[in-house]
Structure formats: structure tokens, C-alpha cells
């Protein structure tokens, strides 16, 4: 899923301090699951902002809503009838949701309430880590199911570098060396010989290098 982190309240205040009517919009998908932008966080942020504005002597109205998903038109439509009431929207969805909201409601300023971090997994409650950089050309089949692009600090396709120490990355000893993981798993799979195959220079055009990407599925379109 998409993993996001709450923005500091100070930063959010800076965005919205000059508005009079605000809508805080949560999203009931990824950001709820990673506890950054669900209904609960909407309530907390709304309360915090109400207090902030009152303390500043400003009269600001703040409403709360949590949409099922902010990356789908149909769900975003749910606030169509009242969007004009607001000077601005604070979206706690991921960057996708924030933009989709902004596209849809073109004349309403939309601000992000979270920092969208990465595509990751929940290792345990409160610990998420990156697993994928959406490069568009999956190589996991060659790397024993461990992605060096998202998990090696230098995204080396032919690692490890000389800094790998005791299974950890040179930049942070709490970080696993992705190539150590790959080698360990190759060994487990009895495929260590594959290590000596040189990975060719990667075609990054399917990653952001190729510009904004789009998936068009003719089979499911009408």
C-alpha cells in the first residue's frame, strides 16, 4: 500500500492560516491503514486547528469528512454539492488523492495534510518499510524476490557494494543490505550460481525517467 506520514501541525497551519472555511478530508484507504489520514486523524487535526484559530482570534469554520477513497471520481463526487462552501480543502489522502481532489475541484485550493512516503509493507504495527519504487519493469524474478531498486541505497543492479557490513547497509546499520538479503535467499533457493549473471543496464524509461506514466487497459475499457 501507499505509506504516508502526518505532516507537522505547524506546516499545515502555515498552509491554511488565511482561510475562513475549511474542509478537512480524510481517506478511508491506505492512509487510514497506515494511521496517517483516516477519520481519527481528521478529527484530531480539526480540533487542533479550531483551537489554533480561536487562539489567534480568527473565526474559522472547519468541517470534517472522510471519503472512501480520494483516488476515484465517484467517491470525490460525494462532496460536490458542498465544495463551494469552503475556501480551501485540507486533504489527508496521499499525493494521488490530493491531486485528484485538486483536479476535480479546480477553483478550490487543496493542501496536503500528509507526506506521501513510499509503497511499502507494515512490518509490524507502527513500522512500515519500502518495498517497491514502481519502476514499471519488475526484476524480482532475477533477484530472488528482493528488489535492489527500492531496497539498496544505491539501487545497484549488480551489488553489493564494498560497504556492506555484517548484512547491513553502509549508510545505516539498522538497514538491511538488500544484496545480502538477495544472496541469502538465492542460497536458500539453491540458486547462488545466478549471482554471477550480470544484470544488464536497466531501461529506466518505464520509471519516472520516461515522464508521467499511464496505464491504459483496452481490455477493460469500453
Amino acid at each position: 500500500m501507499i505509506v504516508a506520514e502526518k505532516k507537522p501541525v505547524e506546516e499545515i497551519i502555515d498552509y491554511v492560516k488565511d482561510f475562513k472555511k475549511l474542509l478537512i478530508a480524510g481517506c478511508n484507504e491506505c492512509v487510514t491503514v497506515c494511521e496517517a489520514g483516516g477519520k481519527k486523524e481528521v478529527g484530531i487535526l480539526a480540533s487542533a486547528l479550531r483551537m489554533y484559530f480561536l487562539n489567534e482570534g480568527k473565526k474559522v469554520e472547519i468541517d470534517e469528512v472522510t471519503l472512501e477513497r480520494q483516488c476515484d471520481h465517484e467517491y470525490l463526487e460525494e462532496i460536490r454539492d458542498r465544495i463551494d462552501k469552503y475556501d480551501a480543502v485540507l486533504s489527508l489522502a496521499c499525493g494521488v488523492g490530493v491531486q485528484f481532489m485538486a483536479e476535480k475541484y479546480f477553483s478550490t485550493p487543496v493542501f496536503p495534510g500528509v507526506n506521501t512516503c513510499f509503497l511499502g509493507a507494515a512490518e509490524e504495527r507502527g513500522v512500515w518499510s519500502e518495498r517497491c519504487q514502481a519502476c514499471g519493469q519488475c526484476i524480482l524474478g532475477e533477484t530472488a524476490g528482493i528488489c535492489p531498486i527500492s531496497r539498496c541505497a544505491k539501487r545497484l543492479l549488480n551489488g553489493p557494494c564494498g560497504g556492506s557490513t555484517k548484512g547491513k547497509c553502509e549508510i545505516n546499520k539498522d538497514l538491511d543490505c538488500a544484496w545480502q538479503l538477495i544472496i541469502d535467499r538465492l542460497k536458500e533457493l539453491n540458486r547462488l550460481d545466478d549471482y554471477e549473471k550480470i544484470m544488464p543496464i536497466k531501461d529506466w524509461s518505464t520509471e519516472r525517467a520516461g515522464g508521467p506514466r499511464k496505464v491504459v487497459r483496452e481490455d477493460v475499457r469500453l
Partner: protein, 923 residues
């Protein structure tokens, strides 16, 4: 208790009740009498360290929580009688005799701390800063004489260095005649040292002078290690000669001999004497009257295989009267005694029970909210401070309030009757009582609601006594305002309350006992003898478990004979079904209604058993040593192997034996003490001496943990010339195999040099390891500690329950223990299970969490946050909480990032309505 006459099942007990001069039934515990009492008396609860009044309550947790008059100090001024609005004072009260008929009796008269006044050298009574451990407990207590501030008695100065002297009044035949070990002093001394360090504002130095540290209980060794290694408590192996006072500072100089025989001195600001447990004279007199046999230390005589049966049939014993023990042991044994007594009384169960008829519930959701408020004066407890009429008038102005009344004592029977009428007359559908604490009185008022056809959850209390009049007695005006706030808050919440349905679940009155060893079989019999069906699941082909390898107890009781009888009783019992060679493969359900899937027999056919409770008795095994040439040389054996050998071959052919203690215990792999190995060693050593009095026996140990009455055998062993030599963990004995024998080299701590013994036999006191229950624990979702022993719900309060309701624990599955202790614990588990099984249905609390599936994002936060693993993501892909399993803590509701969970009766709106009512108009 004066006397017990008659036979088991039909005893006539004569009791004398001493006068209290205050009727405990009328007394509301308000305390006005004590407040007005002009007489000061010594407070013996704080061991004379502070004062109380002649009208008093012994301690805040006393049951019943009622006052009494100490007639020895009372001057008869009559003030209390004038003050008491409940009219509970009766100066004419006198001694009453009564007779009750019972079927069985349990004696738990307890013990007293040893009085060290007679031991001159320790200076107790002479030097103010020498206190007993009991006094020190009071000093540390928040309800103690110094309110928990660590001070010494002489000058109320904070001590900088405290010493504990162990074994005062224990393990000492010469000075006090108490040859036994009191079993508890080591641990309480360590605990006191840790708490003292916590309470101290400086870096308090704590030293414990001891002969052995006996931290033999479950996880106690870890606590001891923490005290030693992390908190720097010093443990000094020594014997204390004398304690002298430095008269200018009040400090105390301890003169002691250390292990090497050298005499040293060290100065402390305070000395605590760790006094042992002792049976008081009053108890020995009682035992004499009741014709209960006592041993030479005045503990009740019991059989190792019937540990709670006194010498007189139908009379059972528990607690320290049975033998020195700690709180977990006492609580366990109390349950065991209850089981043993209950077995004989099973027929009578439920015959005196009265059932209350509850009228059908009125539907309140569709009707307008009508709140009634009852403000209590609580005599003058509330009214003496709070302006009750003003509060009542105020309540009448609040939204939805249609009725207000005030009462002298709302809890009295007549007021309750009146309240019922009022509720009905006024069609009240929410009730607020502004009085005392819901902790004690909520159930009473809820019953009243139910009697009027109202759901009991339509009730709310405002605590204007404990939280108001009692604590703001000096500011009546503010207290009255606070009372109004509390009432306003309560009314606000009451308006939002909804009726809740308490689910009733029927109980399958059958028990599943996992493990057919001594503990499992005793637990099964404990239940079966009371009429409950029991299924025992044993994975081996035979019953008996580890005890099949044991020969005799240290007292000389024949274990194999006992086992034979036990197996006969179990297999012959019509209520018990035994499944051997069986494996548990599935488990589901909740308290009262479990289903267990079992693969049975060599054919592995599957059976499903429905049952209401589980008793875990999976046991433990002797550790297979990897140390000291075990398995490499036939002359190296474990204590169990040695025991068997002695049984078969005797010991005529062995003349030199070395035993090494703590093999596989108290080390990095297994931090805990295995509890039983010291006595195994002494037991086998004494047996060898019986066969061959000339045999030389060396026991190499780290601490000899011969707790309780076992100490006598330790003394005897030394008298018989068995040599005990201490080694330290970092310098263990060295063992080599030679043609002549096993050469064991160790450092003698008295001689301070290495000694080498070539032994015919080396016996390793191998510790205990829990049976491998990893898979079982994961199937049943039960918690285990690092060593693989199951974890009880609360060490002291619920020693045989698991946190998972309906699951109980006994025997060595809990921790290493002796056979008699395992039997006790098995009976205790049966007793706890009986409480459960004796009901035909149970009512579940309605305070449980509820998921709104429309909001749920299936994020797993509740699944991960719940301490009981109750929520699960169901087939619809949303979280679901089984009310039968929910404990009602509300953690999931607070954590839910989608705000999809509410805790009934504590819904967010209901909680926040109190905040909003309180702060109404502030902004």
C-alpha cells in the same frame, strides 16, 4: 472458634463473636465517629509506628469496611454515639456464642512474624534504627506511618545505606528453635531493597546479608538477578555476629564473618531484620482444641499426597499454617482446600440459592428521555459539607430531568423501595444517583432499576462523596459547586445512555484436562468427584508423566504406589474419560463453550470434544545435561537416574559420590531456578548414607534452596557428614573422566584452594524444562514465558487462572515444583474451574466493543492492538469482535484510525458529553 463437633459432612461449630460496639451492618463506614473520637491509641496495623483513634477501622481495605471501638482505650465519652447518624453505636454490645452447621472446615489461621526482641546481639528494641521487615514494609507503604516516605525511625532522616539481615527466626535451632526456612524472606528482602531504592531520592546502598538466596519461585531468580546486576543491590554471603549503634549518629555497625571466615565490619544507617514466619500461640491452642496434629514447629501435619488434609477428616488446612509459603502458594492452596472441602459437599451445591425475579424490560428508545436524580446525604458524610438541597434544586434545572429527590442514605433498603415506586410513578427512564462510588454501589442501584423494568445500563452515578465532600471538607462552598458539576456531567451522560443487552451463554459443564500426569489426574479427580464430566488428553500411552520416573519423596512416601492408586481411581471413575496417545490439533470457542479437536490413539482418528473449561497440566521433564561429561561417561548420571539406581541396586558399591547443583538452571539459557533439585540431591544423598553410612558425599552448590520444612533434611545431611561446598557461577567445578573414577576439581571457599575428588559416581542435579508446548500454545493462543512455562493471569491474585477466561493451569506446566505442590495446584485449578462449571449459564458484561462495518477499513489496527486477540477480519472483509471474548477495555476503540469501533456504555459521545457538560459556557 471454640470447638468442632461431629463428623465430616455434619459438623457443629461453636463460635464466639467478640463485641465490636459498632454494628457492622448499620455502619456505613463514614468515619465520623473516628473523626470525633478524642482518644488516641497506638496503631498496631502500622506496628506501633503511629497512632489511631479508639474508634477505628483496622486498615482501609478491611472487610467489612466497618468501624469498631477499641474498648481497652475507649473512655466512654459518648461522642461517637451522638455523631452516628446510622445509629450503629452500641456500648452494650457483648460477647456472643453461636453455633453453625457445616459439612467441612478450612483452617487458614495464618502466621505471625518472628519477634527478634530476645536476640540481644541484633539490637532490636535497643537501637531505634533496627527494624523488623514487617515494620519496614509499613514504612515503605503509602498508607504507612510515613506515607511511603523512606525515613528511619530514630530521626526521620532519609537513610543512605540499609542492610537486611536474613534468617532472623528461621534456619536457627540454637537461638529460637525454628529449624525451618520461612521461604519468603529472601524474596521480600530483595523486593524491599528494590522498592527502597525506588523511594530514595539519593543513591541508596542496599546490602542483604545472607547464607543462601532462596529465589526458587517462578521467575524469582530473574528478579534476584535484576536486583543484583541492574540495581546494584549487594548480596553478602555471611553470618552476622553483632550489631552495635554509633550513639552520635544512630548508625549501626554490623560485625560479620564472610565466606572465607574473615571478620569484617560495615556501617549502615538502618538495619532491617528479615524475620521469619511463625505459628502464633493462639493458633497452636486452636489446633489443640480441634484435635489437629501439629509437627514439632507447630505447622499442621499433612501427607505429601494429600497436602491440604489435616489429621482430622473433614478439616482442611491452607496457607502458612500448612507450612511456610508465599502469597501465590497460599492463594493456590486456599483454592486447593476449597476443592478438597467441596468434593464432600458437592451434593449440597446450590440448595440454598435464591433467585431474583426480574420483570420484562420497558422499551425506552422510542419514548422521550425522563431523567430522575437522587441526591444522597450519606448521613452527614455528604450533607456535612455539600449543600445537598442546593444541589438537588440545581439538578431540577438540568435538561430532561423530571424528578429530583434527596435521601439520608440512598443505599438503605427503605430508600431503595421508595426509589422503585418513584421510578414507576414518574415513568423515569434514566436514573442518576449522586452519592458515593460506583465501585461499591453501582450494582445495588442497577438492581433497583431492573426491578422497575429498566435496563441496568440506563444508570449513571455522580460521586459527590469520595470525590467531593470527603476531600474538600474544608471548603463547603467549592464542594457544593463541584457537586453541581458532577451532577450536571452525570445527567448529560445519562441522557445519551442506551439500553444494552447482556448476552447470556450456556455453559458446557465438562472439563478438558490436558496432560495426564499427577497434576492432571488430581485436577480431573477434583472435578469428577464434584460431579463434572472430565476428559483427560495424554499424549503418551500411559498416564503418570514425569512421576513414572520418580521413586520416593524426601519424606519417604512411595511415589509409585501412590501413582498406581491414582491411575486406578482415575481410570475407574465413571465421570472421567482418558484419551491416551492423543494430540490436540484444533481449538475454538470461548469460555464455557470450547471445542477441541483431538487425534486419538495410534490410529489417529479424529474426535471433537465440547467442553466448558480447560485445565493445562502439560508438565515438565528433567533437563538432559550437555555439561560435565553427561552421556559420555556412564558414571555421570542425573538425580532421577540416581534415584532409580538406588531403588534397584542400592549403594553398597559406591563409596564416593559428588553431586553438582544447578545443572541447566540459573544460567544464561535458563535463568530460573528449578526449585526441586536441591532437595533431590539431599534426598538421594541421605539414601546413599542409609545404604552405605561410610560413603563420602560432596554436594557442590551455588545456594542450597531447602525451603520450608525441607531445611530439616539439609540439617540432617550435614549432621550425617555430607559435605556441602559452594561454587560460583563463573568458576564451576571441573570434571574429568579417569580410569579410577570421575575426577571433580572445585574451589573450596573456606580453604580458598582447589580440591580434587575422584568419585565413583557424579550425580548432576539437572533442572526442569517445560514440556514442549509451542504448538499447543499456538493452537490454544496461550501465553508462555521464555522458558516455555504458561503464564498465569496474575502471579498473586490469580495464580492458577490464565488471562484467557475458562482456562486454568496446574503442575509443572506452570513452573518447576514438588509433587505435593503440584497436587495442591491441581486441586486449586479444579476449584477455580468448579466456580465456572457450577453455573448453568453466565451473563456477559454488555460493556464490549462493536465495529461499524461501513466505516471499517480492515486495517488490522484493532487486531494488532487488542491484548486478547479478539478482533478478526471476517468473511465480509471487515473487523468483527466477538462479545463473548471481548474484555471491554476499549483499547481498540481508541486506536481505530477509521473511528469504526465504539465501546458500549463508553461511546465517544457518552464520554465526551461529560466533558462538554463540565465545560459548558466556559468558552
Amino acid at each position: 472458634m471454640e470447638s468442632i463437633e461431629g463428623e465430616p459432612g455434619d459438623f457443629k461449630v461453636t463460635l464466639t463473636s467478640y463485641p465490636r460496639y459498632i454494628d457492622p451492618i448499620k455502619c456505613t463506614g463514614c468515619g465520623e465517629c473516628a473523626k470525633r473520637c478524642p482518644v488516641t491509641a497506638i496503631n498496631m496495623y502500622n506496628l506501633g509506628l503511629d497512632d489511631r483513634k479508639a474508634t477505628y477501622i483496622e486498615y482501609p481495605q478491611a472487610v467489612p469496611l466497618a468501624f469498631a471501638i477499641d474498648i481497652d482505650t475507649c473512655i466512654g465519652c459518648g461522642l461517637c454515639e451522638m455523631m452516628c447518624l446510622a445509629k450503629a453505636i452500641n456500648y452494650e454490645d457483648n460477647e456472643k456464642k453461636s453455633t453453625i452447621c457445616v459439612g467441612a472446615v478450612i483452617l487458614s489461621p495464618g502466621s505471625e512474624g518472628f519477634d527478634p526482641s530476645g536476640m540481644d546481639v541484633l539490637g532490636y528494641g535497643k537501637f531505634a534504627n533496627v527494624v523488623t521487615s514487617e515494620e519496614f514494609e509499613r514504612i515503605l507503604s503509602a498508607s504507612g506511618p510515613y506515607r511511603g516516605h523512606l525515613m528511619r525511625t530514630l530521626d526521620r532522616e532519609a537513610p543512605k545505606k540499609i542492610a537486611w539481615i536474613q534468617c532472623v527466626g528461621s534456619r536457627d535451632v540454637n537461638l529460637c528453635g525454628n529449624g525451618y526456612c520461612s521461604s519468603v524472606c529472601c524474596m521480600y528482602a530483595v523486593k524491599e531493597a528494590m522498592i527502597a531504592k525506588e523511594h530514595s531520592h539519593d543513591d541508596l546502598d542496599c546490602a542483604i546479608f545472607n547464607m543462601d538466596i532462596r529465589s526458587f519461585g517462578k521467575d524469582y531468580e530473574k528478579y534476584y538477578n535484576r536486583a543484583k546486576d541492574e540495581h546494584g543491590v549487594r548480596f553478602i554471603k555471611s553470618r552476622v555476629h553483632t550489631i552495635n549503634e554509633d550513639s552520635t549518629t544512630g548508625d549501626l555497625v554490623i560485625r560479620y564473618t564472610d565466606e572465607s571466615g574473615q571478620t569484617n565490619e560495615e556501617t549502615f544507617s538502618m538495619v532491617v531484620l528479615s524475620v521469619g514466619l511463625q505459628i502464633p500461640e493462639s493458633v497452636t491452642a486452636l489446633a489443640r482444641r480441634l484435635d489437629i496434629e501439629l509437627n514439632n514447629y507447630n505447622f499442621a501435619v499433612t501427607d505429601p499426597f494429600a497436602p491440604v488434609n489435616s489429621s482430622r477428616p473433614g478439616i482442611f488446612v491452607s496457607g502458612v499454617f500448612q507450612g511456610p509459603k508465599d502469597i501465590p502458594g497460599s492463594v493456590t492452596e486456599a483454592s486447593a482446600a476449597a476443592c478438597a472441602a467441596g468434593t464432600k459437599l458437592a451434593e449440597a451445591r446450590g440448595t440454598d440459592t435464591k433467585t431474583i425475579e426480574i420483570p420484562a424490560e420497558i422499551d425506552v428508545l422510542e419514548t422521550e428521555t425522563r431523567i430522575g436524580v437522587f441526591v444522597c446525604n450519606c448521613g452527614i458524610n455528604i450533607a456535612g459539607v455539600v449543600d445537598v438541597p442546593a444541589v438537588a434544586d440545581y439538578a431540577a434545572t438540568l435538561p430532561y430531568v423530571v424528578f429530583v429527590d434527596q435521601n439520608l442514605f440512598t443505599c438503605s433498603q427503605d430508600t431503595q423501595d421508595k426509589m422503585k415506586e418513584v421510578i414507576k410513578e414518574n415513568n423515569l427512564n434514566r436514573v442518576v444517583v449522586a452519592s458515593c462510588t460506583p465501585r461499591t454501589h453501582e450494582p445495588l442501584f442497577q438492581e433497583t432499576l431492573q426491578a422497575c423494568g429498566l435496563n441496568k445500563y440506563l444508570f449513571e452515578m455522580a460521586n459527590i462523596r469520595d470525590q467531593d465532600s470527603w476531600v474538600h471538607a474544608n471548603d463547603p462552598e467549592a464542594a457544593t459547586e463541584k457537586a453541581k458539576d458532577l451532577v450536571r456531567m452525570a445527567v448529560a451522560r445519562a441522557g445519551l445512555l442506551k439500553p444494552l443487552k447482556e448476552k447470556k451463554i450456556s455453559i458446557n459443564r465438562r472439563a478438558l484436562v490436558i496432560g495426564g500426569g499427577v497434576a492432571g489426574m488430581n485436577a480431573a479427580l477434583g472435578l469428577a468427584d464434584q460431579g463434572f464430566d472430565v476428559v483427560i488428553v495424554e499424549k503418551e500411552a500411559q498416564l503418570g508423566g514425569l512421576s513414572r520416573d520418580l521413586t520416593v519423596t524426601i519424606e519417604g512416601a512411595d511415589i509409585q504406589r501412590y501413582l498406581l492408586e491414582l491411575v486406578d481411581r482415575v481410570t475407574g471413575h465413571e465421570k472421567i474419560q482418558v484419551l491416551t496417545e492423543s494430540l490436540i490439533v484444533g481449538f475454538s470457542g470461548f469460555k464455557g463453550n470450547f471445542t477441541t479437536e483431538i487425534m486419538v490413539g495410534p490410529g489417529m482418528y479424529e474426535r471433537k470434544i465440547d467442553h466448558g473449561v480447560v485445565i493445562l497440566a502439560t508438565g515438565a521433564n528433567e533437563y538432559k545435561p550437555e555439561e560435565y561429561l553427561y552421556g559420555q561417561d556412564y558414571r555421570v548420571v542425573t538425580q532421577i537416574e540416581l534415584g532409580k539406581r538406588l531403588e534397584v541396586k542400592g549403594a553398597d558399591d559406591i563409596s564416593k559420590v559428588v553431586m553438582i547443583q544447578c545443572v541447566g538452571s540459573r544460567n544464561e539459557k535458563n535463568q530460573n531456578c528449578s526449585r526441586v533439585c536441591c532437595q533431590s540431591a539431599v534426598k538421594n544423598a541421605l539414601h546413599i548414607k542409609e545404604f552405605n553410612p561410610d560413603a563420602e558425599i560432596y554436594i557442590l552448590y551455588r545456594d542450597m534452596r531447602m525451603y520450608g520444612l525441607l531445611e530439616d533434611y539439609y540439617t540432617e545431611a550435614r549432621q550425617q557428614g555430607i559435605i556441602f561446598s559452594r561454587f560460583s557461577q563463573d568458576n564451576p567445578p571441573n570434571v574429568e573422566a579417569t580410569d579410577e573414577g570421575i575426577a571433580v576439581t572445585f574451589k573450596d571457599h573456606i580453604l580458598q584452594r582447589d580440591i580434587s575428588i575422584t568419585a565413583d559416581l557424579l550425580a548432576l542435579s539437572a533442572g526442569m524444562v517445560a514440556e514442549d508446548t509451542e504448538e499447543l500454545a499456538s493452537i490454544l493462543k496461550l501465553p508462555r514465558n521464555e522458558e516455555g512455562y504458561f503464564i498465569e493471569a496474575h502471579v498473586k491474585l490469580r495464580p492458577v487462572d490464565l488471562a484467557n477466561e475458562g482456562v486454568f493451569l496446574c503442575g509443572t506446566a506452570h513452573s518447576p515444583k514438588l509433587i505435593s505442590e503440584a497436587i495442591s495446584q491441581a486441586l486449586a485449578a479444579a476449584s477455580r474451574a468448579t466456580i465456572f462449571l457450577s453455573q448453568s449459564e453466565i451473563t456477559l458484561s454488555a460493556v464490549t466493543a462493536r465495529v461499524d462495518p461501513d466505516l471499517c477499513a480492515a486495517c488490522l489496527v484493532c487486531v494488532r492492538a487488542c491484548p486478547y486477540e479478539v478482533p478478526r477480519i471476517n468473511e465480509e472483509g471487515v473487523s468483527e469482535i466477538d462479545v463473548a471474548l471481548c474484555h471491554g477495555c476499549g483499547i481498540c476503540a481508541a486506536e481505530c484510525p477509521a473511528k469504526a469501533i465504539e465501546l458500549d456504555w463508553y461511546e465517544d459521545d457518552q464520554v465526551m458529553s461529560k466533558v462538554e457538560a463540565l465545560l459548558e459556557g466556559v468558552l
